[in-house]
Symmetry: D2
């Protein structure tokens, strides 16, 4: 199996998650091309060198263009803030590199579309960081829906609620700058929209109510003056899916008390399932038609029977964590570069998700249903 | 303390719940007027006589008008199907009786309004059977919101999902007849709408998506032919509250696997709460600002510190059940007749709930936000 | 169906629970003899009269002997502190009354044995207040074990842990007086021992570690001096059952934070179940041999398919509470008086439970296994 | 920071976990010596070479002695079956290597003691694979106990229950060969005993009931004849701790339905905690003395405030998994080699755990309490 030179741009929250994943991918998935940890870039040479040591990369740089230009780099992971995604991605594509770009692709739909077109024109493999759907139990859920175990699908209900913006006295940050795109509807909403699409397929129409809750924040740590907040804190969406059913979604980053309340419930004529990232190793499954006194939601604990859990541990119930999801994502990406079927989500899929996001924002402004 | 003669019309699901509640009310709440179980009515004299024995009523009748006419009946509980509510209620009001009417008041908003006006004109005490908000933990939740323990309220998310209509091969029943009013939005939706109002106050606008999922059902048990279903199976609502925040609600009777998935989550600037009837004796409360490593949702188990739990049991954690909620509801109703402050929900409140239901149906048809 | 005159002695925690139950029994179980609420006794005439009004009894008395002597009283419920049980019970038996006595029967095993013999000699119907096993889901659990759905039984693990004695600064009370019998092993331990016996049959041997945790307490509210505590706060038991398997039990009234942590887990060759009173309307059932990817504990929510839930509510998931368990217990008792099969636990069974308690205490002292 | 050459012997369940951990350790803990993945050994050269590629080791061998002899190997991880531990460990110690040996150290206490003495005589750093206590929430629990947040400790209750031996028709395996040591009391029991010691300190006495449930098994896959099973399937222990309190433990590998039911509950005079590996990212904490209506167990979700969670992810609630616990364990081991304080458990601690195991077996045979 050939080797793939890896380059990561950015070493923050997501940069670290990528580093963990590239280090673990082959150990879990020996069939993929061997990732060679070639180069890592950060804003200063010192930070980059420190990261190279920590994550085991051969080289480091403060010049992301140098990373892209390195002939030994075959794959580029872009984990910088949203506003940098487009420029870096287009450069990497131009250099013929395969690209993993963190979500969302770009602040605006047109920028994202440009990225999709460039990638497709060049024929490279792309990936976007919707890691939660890499959970073996999400794969199981999707398969159950596909093969008809839930029967005809009636309904989807989902939410991604956290509370990192809940305290109105927390200072204004770059995350709130509309230059980076919408607020929670893009940041968290895209995860649950992507999950809905992963499970049920295309969304065709959306009706949304998108609002800013904390209207202003201290301009900085300890600041007396306040900066107005223009992006959304809560987004509520009603959806129609191409397959015929409807659904509802909440994205919320002021959900006081919630740390990772990402979850969904799907009902069908033959069964129902629900899942929540707070107990990410459990899928709850109700099969209609069992003996009445024994009917109830079964708690399916992730185990080797749920691929690819067994790649991490041969015993059931030992649990995967966040970084393991990222490892699956990266391994599938590298596998696709090596010729395996694409698992996605690729740029195209991320663009489709963003279309729902944008439709939601427009729907909220115009107070009407908006088609894709 | 004076005595109140009780009459119940109907002995089905709700009739039985009323009977339990009238029998238990004084035992739990000795300060209320003494209910004297005077008369019970059912469609046949035999059924009524059987119920009178079972529930300990002095008399029985197959003529509900006789029950209302009985001078020893001071209070009438109407637990018949929706289509009978109005006639019976107006008759009882005309006779000067206090009336408890099961929800929803009537199939149409105008009928309900007529009932409200008649009751208010006569000055009688009314009650409608929104029993779930009688839970001591719901009273706690409301009080926490009122006194500001959650800070400024950001959001409401709620649902009432069950699955008794989930199987598409279950035959058509009177419940599905549009003559009785809308479908799930009235049957279950009214509970969660009422709960939202109980906690957060008036709803001012609604945007809904209301749909029929199972388009036809066998016309009867074993029938080959199918009857088209015209009422809704799922209702999704986005709400705006008078206090300024927004919210989202799902009402669903095809939620395969769910038996009593009635619950809500409220987020505020200082805390969050969530509750679900599946674990009805637990309220989950997150208080912002605790020492970081010790922060988390606390599971508050109902106990005597949560009034009126202590009226049923002096020890915490022993749990109340469905019939106990009904007992609280009935006791508060009798207490109000005796001069205690009205706890509601009265006819007026039920009418307000129904206005949200009707606005939802209209919103869905017109595909736009509708004000109250 | 004949009528049975009811007399209750004591109107505290358990007296109230009995009153609720006698008031509700016929409404839920119309096939039983009709309870006529004849007389209630308390220490003062005023308290008794107040209780008679509140609970709907015809008469009241401060003289429990008068209650027993009343020819219209057929059934006597004894809900006073343990030290009074024997005298009252023997008097009631001598008068030919059927007797419900709250647990434990008496402070000493020999006293209890005397009560059992007197009752059996007279041929009256007896009942003891082990209400938790009246839960429809406990009946289901027992039936599953009996018919072999769990296969050969491997193991029992159970506990009854609460925290009402946890605070070492809470004053000494009569509950701690050894004149009333042992401590937590009798108070809470008897519940979980009784549950183990209900599910798995006789216990043949016990090895225990029984200890006093809070060695002294303030002698009274606000007292400076402290009274030594002689009864046990925690009891740990290893058990052997007559059917061949073993088990383990903890009884604990200093389990800080636990309010009603009564529960068990049973494993067998074909399945496993677990249940906890904290979620008393759910039984968790694992059936071995299902399709691997769909295997997990199913959460069985109590519903009408679990007798006698349907006697309280026709819809599943609406939940029973503590007082409903008591109603089932009382109804089964009255039913047995009326000729239906005895459901127990009767005095004999309570005596068998107490033998395990006493064996535990002896085992702990002698530091060895003790047979029954 | 210096480099440490790593050698792993064995590539099965635990070998893979070690490989993951050595690959991730520096990424999470950049302050530790740099692990250089030097050599991996398996029974065949092919398997070893395959593992070397998959896990990124420089070299491979089918001769574990060659691995130990390699001067570039500083640290040896021994992940082979128990019966090989002693020989390999003593050889590694003799060569001056630091040793990580999987649990249990050896089949017999005397063999383990020999290993402890050899290691201590040589002054090497040792580690044993009790990974579950590496959970950030276990560290929090221990710290809470140490600093007195729970007050005086009253009680410990714990269990490690799984079901991989539950099916009596599953064939006999090497795991059941008594040559490898005791059964579940060593395999799972040592985890929960180690956890009890980690939280509460030394165990001084034990009383146990240790039994074989499935008395014989098919001698091999599809075999008609059956092999008798001599090791234990369930072990029940009552404990006394040096600090004065008592406790109870169950180890069980026939707990039908349970996959990773490892957990504990600790009660003290000021609070209580409970935790279960089924929801390994949650610690439940009850603090006595809060405002009554707001008291309840708080669900503490693992986050960066719980060291070393933040080394894996900066956002709370994203969850760690099994392999992350192993990474912490390995990183602490490497850190200790580099001069940081030893976190353990080292050979000495593993030996102490095994003493409890052996005392339990002797106690069960002799039917009496056994001191350490």
């Amino acid at each position: 199996m050939k080797e793939l030179g890896i380059g990561i741009i950015g070493t923050g929250f997501m940069g670290k998650a990528h580093a963990f994943a590239y280090r673990a991918a082959l150990a879990a998935f020996p069939e993929i091309p061997t990732p060679r940890l070639r180069m890592i870039a950060d804003v200063t040479a010192e930070a980059a060198a420190k990261a190279a040591h920590q994550y085991g990369f051969e080289a480091s740089t403060s010049d992301w263009k140098a990373l892209i230009a390195d002939p030994q780099v075959d794959v580029v992971s872009i984990t910088t803030p949203n506003t940098f995604h487009k420029e870096m991605t287009l450069a990497a594509i131009a250099a013929g590199k395969h690209v993993h770009c963190e979500k969302p692709l770009a602040p605006t739909l047109s920028d994202s579309e440009e990225m999709v077109r460039a990638a497709e024109a060049k024929g490279i493999i792309t990936q976007v960081g919707y890691n939660y759907i890499k959970n073996p139990l999400l794969k199981l859920a999707r398969e159950m829906i596909e093969v008809g175990e839930l029967g005809e699908i009636y309904n989807f209900r989902g939410q991604h609620a956290e509370d990192y913006m809940s305290n109105p006295e927390n200072p204004y940050t770059w995350r709130l700058d509309p230059v980076g795109g919408p607020g929670v509807i893009a940041d968290l909403g895209s995860h649950i929209i992507g999950m809905a699409r992963f499970l049920l397929g295309p969304v065709t129409e959306v009706m949304a109510d998108v609002e800013t809750i904390v209207k202003s924040r201290p301009s900085g740590p300890g600041a007396k003056e306040r900066t107005p907040v223009l992006v959304d804190d809560i987004a509520r969406l009603m959806l129609r899916f191409g397959r015929g059913c409807g659904g509802m979604i909440e994205a919320n980053w002021v959900a006081t008390g919630r740390k990772m309340h990402l979850g969904f419930e799907v009902h069908g004529s033959k069964g129902g399932i629900h899942w929540n990232a707070e107990h990410m190793n459990e899928l709850h499954y109700y099969k209609a038609g069992r003996e009445p006194r024994h009917m109830g939601f079964a708690t399916l604990e992730a185990g080797p029977q749920h691929h690819p859990y067994g790649r991490f541990c041969v015993a059931p119930g030992h649990q995967l964590g966040f970084n393991d999801m990222k490892t699956i994502e990266i391994a599938e990406f590298l596998g696709a570069i090596g010729g395996a079927p694409k698992a996605g989500p690729d740029f195209r899929e991320a663009f489709e998700i963003q279309k729902v996001v944008e439709a939601g924002i427009r729907s909220s402004k115009e107070k009407k249903w908006v088609g894709m």
